[in-house]
């Protein structure tokens, strides 16, 4: 079922929680709402669920307008941040709750409920835990019970609020993959909230980046990473190195460092780049003269992370290089090298500007 959100806004007292927001979600899409806390993402999710009332705007599920429809009749599944399982009910009863709450005419027989619940528990691989109570389960298991409970009534739309926020890294990884499969298998439309950019990028078909109650960008994870619409998106989606200097005649100068930036307007400019866009060499090239000193070395998995210092830098840069590169350059702490940026990103009110440099 597709979801069409148009001009939804919300104000709490003096706080503007949501600026008017438009968002179209296609049938079967998995959408991540990504943003820092206070960006309005949870408010938007709760408005879509009907747990919160918008001040203005409309929401359609398919052709059906649901703006004024009560949560009870919206046919949504909702997974709460801390699961909100019914603590005094067994896992079985938790999952059966929605079926038992149906009006008498639509309510399945007890044996049908039993079959359906066991089928759901099978799906979340918790059949053996049917008689346990929520407090007796691990965080990951509770999360799966919450999912089974939300899916029991075959909702058109599944909404998840920070679904993996409270879990440790390994379980989180596993559950993400599992949710992705489940989504492909069952084909429901789903919208989830997260503050974790990695989670949003890995799980979503498209990501909605939000800040201060506004949508900053809606794009596929790939586009988002490669072509961020503005500075906020760029900074929120990963680590950032800053380079500030004066631009004249297509060259940025900063102390004894300089780099060629064709097409950038003259004046005081700040350019940004990602750690993986910093390459290292023993000699400067005409396009870039950026002398640095290696200040710290941290091997992390497939790459080596370096902290680079220079007197022309206000704060150190981060660079990630391959082990092969690391060995080829014989990098040690205190080694003096030259940084060669493969790409520089500039943002101003008018939008984004990328400068590609012939290195790497």
């Amino acid at each position: 079922m597709s979801i069409r959100i148009s001009q939804i806004d919300k104000t709490y007292g003096a706080t503007r929680a949501l600026e008017p927001i438009d968002l179209d979600i296609r049938d079967g899409e998995l959408i991540g709402l990504l943003g820092p806390s206070g960006s309005g993402k949870t408010t938007l999710l709760r408005i879509v669920a009907g747990l919160e009332q918008a001040d203005g705007g409309t929401i359609h599920f398919g052709e059906r307008e649901v703006t004024q429809v009560h949560v009870r009749e919206r046919r949504i599944g909702f997974v709460f941040q801390h699961y909100a399982l019914f603590r005094h009910m067994s896992v079985f009863e938790n999952v059966a709750f929605g079926l038992r709450a149906l009006p008498r005419r639509q309510r399945p027989s007890n044996s049908d409920i039993r079959t359906r619940v066991m089928q759901l528990l099978e799906m979340v691989r918790l059949s053996a835990f049917a008689e346990r109570f929520p407090a007796q389960l691990s965080g990951g298991q509770q999360q799966r019970v919450a999912l089974a409970r939300a899916l029991a009534l075959k909702p058109d739309v599944l909404l998840l609020d920070e679904p993996f926020g409270a879990l440790d890294a390994k379980v989180r990884q596993e559950l993400r993959r599992w949710l992705r499969h489940l989504h492909e298998e069952l084909g429901f439309t789903s919208l989830f909230v997260t503050h974790d950019q990695e989670e949003a990028l890995e799980l979503s078909d498209r990501v909605v980046v939000m800040s201060n109650g506004r949508v900053e960008q809606i794009a596929t994870p790939d586009t988002l990473y490669r072509e961020p619409a503005n500075r906020f998106v760029f900074e929120f989606l990963g680590e950032v190195n800053r380079l500030e200097g004066d631009v004249a005649n297509g060259r940025l100068t900063c102390g004894n460092a300089s780099v060629s930036v064709p097409g950038v307007e003259p004046g005081r400019r700040e350019l940004l780049l990602r750690p993986h866009e910093v390459h290292l060499a023993e000699h400067a090239i005409p396009a870039a003269h950026l002398p640095i000193t290696v200040a710290a070395i941290v091997p992390v998995g497939a790459e080596v992370r370096l902290e680079l210092e220079a007197d022309w830098l206000e704060e150190p840069w981060l660079a990630s290089v391959s082990h092969a590169e690391f060995e080829r350059l014989g990098i040690t702490r205190g080694r003096r090298l030259f940084a060669l940026p493969s790409r520089l990103h500039g943002f101003d009110a008018a939008g984004a500007q990328n400068v590609a440099l012939p290195v790497g």
Partner: protein, 275 residues
């Protein structure tokens, strides 16, 4: 290493003092009540119990309690729900107002009701025109008892419901449950123990209230005497054994209340250790 206050001498001294004080101030009076009541033998005890006026007092006390407890049960849930689930102007004020019956002396409460509902009172005069008498009759006793005991249930529920939050109720509503289903299957089981505890406290106070009731009851023997009033009146009449007989009933009720409370706490603790 010995922690502060953990030296064996200090520990024994403190435990000893606590035990002696408990025996002196709590246990001894309790024993005294039953000793006094049974002083004239079991026959006299029964005779005193089956006294016409004592039986009437027992009946009236039961009536007052049976009316007060359910009313305050519903009122307490309603109030706790209102304060913890909704945000409205005056919410904090209301939370403070709930405590008024605890803050004022019961005698003052009785006097205020007398002022309002007495024959010359603001509402009493009007009701008198319809031949409805509140003061010096059982409705007045019920009214002041409700007033004095109304915070107990709400006071037990509010902190609990605040701590539990409304997430489970929200989950239930997304699963299509109606308001009544949510209350019956989600909220009530969560607050069951606190609710029962509130009821026990309400019950104990409703049975034992003296100050407020004594102002509005008018002490008409056999008509508006509750058990505590009856105890006082018998004692004024120099009928010590009779007074203590009635008092022993109240003490017995208090003991039952404590037993019920202890059983509840024990069960709650056991549930917690199981979960």
């Amino acid at each position: 290493m010995i922690r502060i206050g953990d030296a064996p001498g200090v520990r024994r001294l403190l435990i000893g003092v606590a035990l002696v004080l408990t025996a002196l101030f709590l246990l001894l009076p309790l024993v005294a009540i039953f000793a006094q009541a049974l002083m004239g033998g079991i026959d006299l005890y029964w005779q005193n119990l089956s006294d016409r006026y004592t039986l009437a007092a027992i009946g009236l006390t039961l009536l007052v309690t049976l009316l007060t407890v359910p009313i305050n049960l519903v009122f307490g849930i309603f109030l706790a729900w209102l304060v913890t689930r909704f945000n409205f102007p005056g919410r904090r004020l209301l939370q403070t107002l709930i405590d008024i019956p605890f803050a004022v002396s019961p005698v003052v409460a009785g006097l205020v009701y007398l002022l309002l509902y007495g024959r010359n009172g603001w509402l009493g005069g009007w009701l008198d025109g319809y031949d409805i008498q509140i003061m010096f009759a059982w409705p007045g006793i019920v009214l002041v008892t409700i007033f004095v005991t109304c915070p107990f249930v709400a006071r037990e529920l509010i902190p609990l419901m605040q701590a539990q939050g409304a997430r489970e109720e929200e989950a239930a509503v997304t699963l299509g449950a109606s308001g009544w289903t949510i209350f019956r299957r989600v909220t009530l089981p969560k607050i069951r123990h606190a609710l029962l505890y509130g009821v026990i406290l309400t019950n104990a106070r409703a049975v034992g209230e003296f100050g407020a009731v004594s102002v509005v009851a008018g002490a008409i023997r056999g008509q508006t005497n509750t058990l505590p009033l009856q105890v006082e009146q018998l004692y004024q009449d120099y009928n010590t054994v009779g007074a203590f007989t009635s008092a022993s009933l109240l003490a017995l009720l208090a003991l039952l209340t404590l037993a019920a409370k202890a059983a509840l706490e024990w069960r709650a603790a056991r549930r917690e250790s199981l979960a």
